[in-house]
Subunit: 357 residues, 2 copies
């Protein structure tokens, strides 16, 4: 080993869902939105003045923060924007989680939490979800260096009601509580309404799911001005210009078009409703989803087997080979047509597999 | 103070050059390129398929790395890309600089180096440049936790010849040496040619200056595969998808159009040549610039006075109120027309100021 290699930072990186690019594939593995972004984004793209690309973008991301401020009714000083909610959450971990006490999060949740904790050497304790994958709020009534809860949770899709989030906040007046709401628009209730009451609350959302813009990389956080300032200080200590011009411009257009946003959400929720019924008919069970995905297990056929059989048919869903969830599939809600193809494929796979079992 | 605030990460953020947006202003303060990006970028923008924005971008940035690989003759495993060279350098600091020995860099250089060191609690020692702003290479022949040198240096514009860089590498076989080449295309000589010889060398460049794309945020690094892997592991521990679709697509187009790139470089170098002569006639002196900016001081009139007087005339240059350099102006090379306006303004300011002195 070369001398310098002993000083490389030791990490266990996050493994993102695969991004296959197979013609005709049905991609239900990374919870992307099946519908395109608002037509206003397309218009902004066509009108983009290329000459402006030679200049640095606005480091304060004014245009984007302004749009979020208007639509969500939050002051600009209470808004942080970053390169996807991963950048926002990563910055929050680095900014807030510097106590000696461990931070707390569920054992089954977005697996990036323990990756950030590892990267920044943040002590953490994971608290087991109950058998039905719900969070036992009382587990979080203990001394800690911070709390992060995904709500709705991933990959379980389960939502925790706002009263429970409020109880956790009431019992944690000494540390920062982050609510990661990547999927909230699909049926959850945002903790944004608790912001006035709790100065230690940070609410994180994203453009990657409900706004159909995973490719543009925008995430944002709402919090007390003191929290946002602390995050911006850290951001300005890392990279002054994280948001490029296209993301600032296209992002503002997308958030301003709430009519389109709501229409697409309604479509996905409607698809989810019938897909749940059909999956149940095929022998699947799943937690009640408030997200744009389902977390399904079959009463007879192992999840991994179904996962591989679907791949054979060019249909990609997500399978986690991890304790407690290794018999579940995380299935993104696609278009009605995509989900019909999935249902036929599943029916076929289950039939064949039952016969050969 | 709220309980949680004691755990906020304490930082001293970088202060970027101001980004004024005044109609008719001449902006020579953040070393942007006065010419637009390659017309091929515009074509790519027009052809961008908006529907693709709903999908996550390729986490490996294949298209962009491929273009860099072809143009610079470096294997893809030796290329890291990030959100501007700040992201690349920030990742390199976090990845490589974890020794107990301090890292080394000049006292006058890109001021972000000490900000990253502060953010990540990296011990550092700054080594004074000589009186003429040159680096004394022998200062770097000592035990250290890493070295970073900007070449050409900023804000001094001075270039160090490649033999000196090589000598520093020969005398540092135990730690990582980063050469930050943000300005190299304007007349420096890249350390890229030393890559085969030194496995501990990382060469960092950017699209923000010579490629006219500060607004798109792309930086990249060349290094041994083991270094690039270590950086990617850290990147994947922070944010899997840092590069959005527009930056991947537009970036590849820009780097593929080397004919345009070289043409714009020649224009800027030609402008720089006459501007230097004109400034000397006005009583300025400056180090020999190999960058797209000059670092000028006047024999009589204080730099701050000139800086403020230029602002009054809607001409923005950069002034650093810091020891040793507080009588210098950093002036970006703009178009010939912009520089002619600057010259007239300077002539007028110097005349008036001499008379009133």
């Amino acid at each position: 080993m070369n001398q310098w290699e002993q000083y490389f930072r030791k990490v266990v990186p996050y493994v993102p869902g695969e991004q296959p690019s197979v013609p005709g594939m049905i991609k239900l593995n990374t919870n992307e939105n099946p519908y395109p972004p608002s037509p206003k984004v397309k218009k902004a793209m066509e009108e983009l003045d290329m000459d402006k690309l030679r200049l640095y973008p606005d480091p304060t991301s004014h245009a984007l923060a302004e749009a979020l401020s208007t639509v969500y009714g939050v002051n600009k000083e209470q808004i942080f924007v970053g390169v996807g909610s991963d950048d926002v959450l990563g910055t929050a971990f680095l900014t807030f989680f510097n106590a000696e006490e461990p931070i707390l999060f569920p054992d089954i949740t977005y697996s990036f939490y323990e990756v950030w904790a590892g990267l920044y050497r943040i002590p953490y304790v994971t608290l087991p979800l109950l058998e039905d994958f719900s969070v036992r709020k009382e587990d979080y009534y203990r001394k800690n260096g911070g709390i992060i809860i995904a709500n709705p949770n991933a990959p379980t899709s389960l939502n925790m009601d706002l009263e429970a989030i409020r109880d956790i906040l009431l019992n944690n007046k000494e540390s920062i509580v982050i609510v990661d709401e990547a999927y909230v628009d699909f049926g959850g209730e945002s903790a944004l309404s608790l912001l006035a009451e709790f100065e230690n609350l940070l609410v994180v959302q994203t453009f990657s799911k409900s706004y159909s813009m995973a490719g543009i990389r925008i995430g944002y956080a709402f919090g007390a001005p003191s929290l946002i300032k602390a995050m911006n200080d850290v951001k300005y200590s890392y990279n002054s210009y994280t948001m490029n011009l296209p993301s600032l411009w296209y992002g503002a257009e997308a958030v301003n078009d709430q009519a389109y946003h709501n229409k697409m959400l309604a479509k996905i929720i409607s698809t989810r409703t019938w897909v749940i019924e059909e999956l149940k008919k095929l022998g699947f069970t799943m937690p009640d989803s408030k997200a744009n995905f389902l977390f399904a297990t079959h009463k007879e056929i192992p999840a991994e087997k179904i996962f591989l059989a679907l791949r054979e048919k060019n249909i990609y869903v997500r399978y986690f080979n991890k304790p407690r969830i290794n018999n579940y599939l995380r299935i993104t809600i696609g278009t009605d047509k995509e989900m019909e193809t999935l249902m036929s494929a599943l029916a076929e796979i289950l039939k064949v597999t039952s016969l050969t079992n």
